[in-house]
């Protein structure tokens, strides 16, 4: 302290005009103000909640939810608890998010590359696509797809392809393998996953061999073959010991109303939601991809062409790896946007997290519900950010 004071006086200027003093004071004062503001808001909310006797707390999570949920990927009964129902809804959102992110990325890369195509027509169509889908509000697009889906025939007049696939405005139903005995299925899934990892290892080592020795080693074929062989052997062994781990469930009309049961159904609401989210997000991704590709120096492309690489190889081996470094950070925020935009699902009747949670607020404290929703979206977004950042660290130039 004394040293600081000495240091200040040493410079021979009054303390209140001393640059460091002013800066420190400003830091301390603004720090206090921030703390004060946050505390003020917090106690205001607590006070208001107490005064109006607004219920809060989380004891409702153990109660039975008792309300039906539209489409759900986890098994659900109305006698299940709020906590489980919340989980069911969260899984719905996670599925939409993952499927949407994968398809939007593929489509976005495709459109982004088309934007740079030398073919005038392809480039202009891609340009139109981007400008149309990113300039029309997402909610309007969702309604558009919703009405397109509604234009399909109703369930009793829908299309039945070979009595296996059913297409109608309630959704598309198809045969799907579901686990029969839980233990056997889990065991097989674990072994199949191990097979995929083994396949990846084989692919990588073969690729390394190809690079170092110059011998053609077919890494992709080797990798896939390894994974398939491991999975198939595991299947046969488990089938012999405990019966088939997965049983294909066939969809079919059921009950007085001919609703399709069994198999796997992509509901009309989910179709419309995915179409809307994918089209909308892919138009932004296309622009990110285009910007990334254009950020790669012209000389790089000319050099690879001079080396005799085909345009496709140039893109795959030279341009894209370098463009990725520019593309990945903004791409992650598009993933986050897609996940958060899926909360518009309520408009078109898909039971996503927000839609279900809003219904929950009628029988459970709204404050608690909204805290849970925020926490759930935050957790999803942070997971995406984490994965994205890890990937970004891997591809950056050391």
């Amino acid at each position: 302290m004394a040293a600081i004071l000495q240091n200040l006086t040493y410079q021979g200027i009054p303390i209140w005009r001393h640059d460091q003093v002013i800066q420190w004071t400003a830091q301390v004062v603004s720090g206090f103000l921030v703390v004060f503001l946050v505390a003020w808001f917090f106690f205001n909310i607590v006070g208001a909640v107490d005064e109006r006797e607004i219920p809060y707390g989380f004891s409702f999570l153990e109660r039975a939810y008792q309300t039906p949920i539209g489409q759900h990927f986890l098994p659900y009964e109305t006698s299940d608890t709020f906590l489980y129902a919340f989980g069911v809804a969260a899984v719905n959102t996670i599925v939409v998010s993952i499927v949407g992110v994968i398809l939007a990325t593929l489509l976005g890369i495709f459109v982004g590359v088309c934007r740079l195509s030398g073919n005038w027509l392809v480039a202009k169509v891609a340009l139109f696509y981007v400008e149309f889908f990113r300039n029309v509000p997402l909610l309007i697009q969702l309604y558009f797809w919703f009405y397109i889906v509604l234009a399909l025939p109703p369930v009793r007049e829908g299309y039945a392809i070979a009595n296996r696939v059913y297409i109608n405005n309630a959704g598309v139903s198809m045969p799907f393998p579901f686990p029969d005995g839980a233990a056997a299925a889990l065991f097989w899934i674990a072994l199949a996953a191990a097979g995929i990892i083994a396949g990846a290892v084989v692919q990588r080592s073969l690729a390394q061999r190809e690079i170092t020795t110059g011998q053609p080693s077919y890494p992709l074929i080797g990798g896939f073959a390894t994974a398939i062989v491991v999975g198939a052997v595991a299947w046969v062994v488990i089938s012999l010991v405990a019966g088939a781990p997965l049983v294909v469930s066939q969809p079919g009309p059921q009950g007085a109303f001919g609703r399709i049961a069994g198999g796997f159904t992509v509901s009309g609401g989910l179709m419309a939601l995915l179409m809307g989210l994918i089209m909308y997000t892919s138009s932004f991704i296309a622009e990110i991809v285009r910007a990334g590709i254009q950020s790669v120096g012209r000389g790089q492309i000319e050099a690879s062409r001079a080396l005799g690489l085909s345009p496709m190889d140039t893109l795959r081996q030279v341009t894209f790896p370098q463009a990725l470094r520019v593309i990945v950070p903004p791409l992650i925020s598009q993933f986050l946007n897609l996940t958060k935009n899926s909360s518009l699902a309520g408009a078109i009747g898909f039971a996503d997290l927000t839609n279900v949670a809003k219904t929950m607020t009628q029988t459970a404290p709204a404050i608690s519900i909204f805290i849970l929703i925020m926490a759930a979206y935050l957790a999803m977004s942070l997971t995406y950010s984490l994965i994205g950042n890890l990937y970004n660290r891997r591809i950056r130039i050391a």
Partner: protein, 390 residues
């Protein structure tokens, strides 16, 4: 130097903001709760109202002798009702520009009873949120705007006179499904609007009856109707009055059917301001007149001009005996005036909610009379029932 200035400016701005926020928080007093029935003075009569002087404030009303509102209405020469003009069947603007509907007819019946002139009414158009304050302030003589009777409203708003329509959640289905009861909706997909108790009632109904209904929840009703009409769901559920009103927008209304079951309780009826027992009794009696006129088969078209010899009918029409005309301060022939002006309950229903209106089925539902007209002891299964006129 510039940096310092920025800091100071920033701090000044923050301090000012905080000060403003803090002061704003302290200086804004909580508005006095106008729902407090013990402090009616908090509510004020509408100053721009031309009849401001004639309408007693609730405070005055409480201190005045019973019967003051009747006197006020007679002096003023019209009955002021709070109602609506935006829902077909209940209160709507017809092709000629007149405000018509079930609720409006109840107001006209009151005017016919008190002033012998069904057109001596003034309709104040109010929103749903304005209903409580409007009737609490006593600025209107009667509130008839699809108001569900609940105990806390009865305690805080005004007195509910009589349930004139039993609304409640119902189902609409396409006739081609061949469903004639909501209990047949086993495994059906039902579209429902979010944000009301509708969803919860649907869930309860499904659980209680083991129907395993699949609910498709939409944020707004337009999407629900679109999904239902396209067949994405087999049925849609809402309040029956809403079903009927929304039904008018369907491309082929006759292809759709409202199922007879009602799965929630929404009794609707007129409300009068607190603090005037005589006025409360008059409104209840007028509702009784409408209901018993139908039970006794007296309508605007078959009104007898002299005593018929049927005691109940003659007492209703004022030819013999009394149902309390004198004590209520009404004309001996008030019932005749009412029925001649608006008809009996059945006529009002038919005109607004029945086949000539929004086509809400009445037969075998809650809104049928409790008895058959020809045989007052035969139960008709309905719940429309009122204090006997004697």
């Amino acid at each position: 130097m510039a940096k310092t200035v920025k800091y100071i400016a920033g701090i000044a701005l923050l301090v000012t903001t905080v000060a403003l926020l803090a002061c704003g928080g302290e200086e804004t007093p909580a508005p006095a709760p106008i729902t407090d029935p013990t402090a009616p003075a908090a509510a004020t009569a509408m100053p721009e109202s031309p009849t401001e002087e004639a309408v007693p404030t609730p405070t005055e009303a409480m201190h005045m002798q019973a019967g003051s509102r009747l006197q006020t209405v007679m002096d003023r020469g019209n009955v002021i009702c709070a109602s609506r003009n935006d829902v077909p069947g209940y209160g709507f603007i017809d092709a000629s520009g007149a405000n018509v509907g079930f609720d409006i007819d109840l107001c006209r019946a009151l005017a016919a009873a008190v002033l012998n002139d069904p057109s001596a009414i003034e309709i104040r158009l109010i929103t749903a949120a304005e209903r409580g304050p409007t009737i609490q302030s006593g600025e209107v003589d009667m509130l008839v705007r699809t108001v569900t009777w609940t105990t806390s409203r009865d305690a805080q708003w005004g007195n509910y006179a009589q349930t004139m329509f039993y609304d409640g959640q119902g189902f609409m289905v396409n006739r081609s499904l061949g469903v004639d009861s909501a209990l047949d909706l086993q495994g059906a997909s039902v579209c429902v609007t979010q944000g009301t108790t509708t969803e919860l009632n649907l869930a309860d109904f499904s659980n209680q009856n083991g129907l395993n209904i699949e609910a498709l929840t939409f944020e707004d009703t337009a999407a629900v109707v679109a999904a239902y009409e396209s067949g994405q769901c087999d049925a849609f559920t809402n309040d029956r009055s809403q079903l009927a009103a929304l039904g008018t927008s369907l491309a082929d209304r006759d292809a759709h059917l409202i199922l007879p079951e009602t799965i929630s309780e929404e009794p609707l009826g007129p409300v009068v301001p607190h603090g005037d027992d005589q006025w409360f009794d008059i409104v209840k009696t007028v509702m009784s007149i409408l209901i018993y006129a139908e039970a006794y088969d007296v309508s605007s078209s078959n009104m007898p001009s002299a005593a018929t010899g049927e005691t109940k009918k003659d007492r209703l029409l004022g030819f013999e005996g009394s149902w309390g005309q004198e004590s209520l301060g009404l004309d001996q022939m008030a019932a005749q005036n009412v029925i001649r002006a608006v008809g009996n309950y059945g006529e009002i229903y038919e005109r607004n909610l029945g086949p000539s209106g929004i086509n809400l089925p009445r037969e075998n539902g809650r809104n049928a009379l409790w008895s058959d007209a020809s045989c007052s002891d035969c139960p008709k299964g309905g719940q429309i029932y009122a204090a006997p006129l004697r």
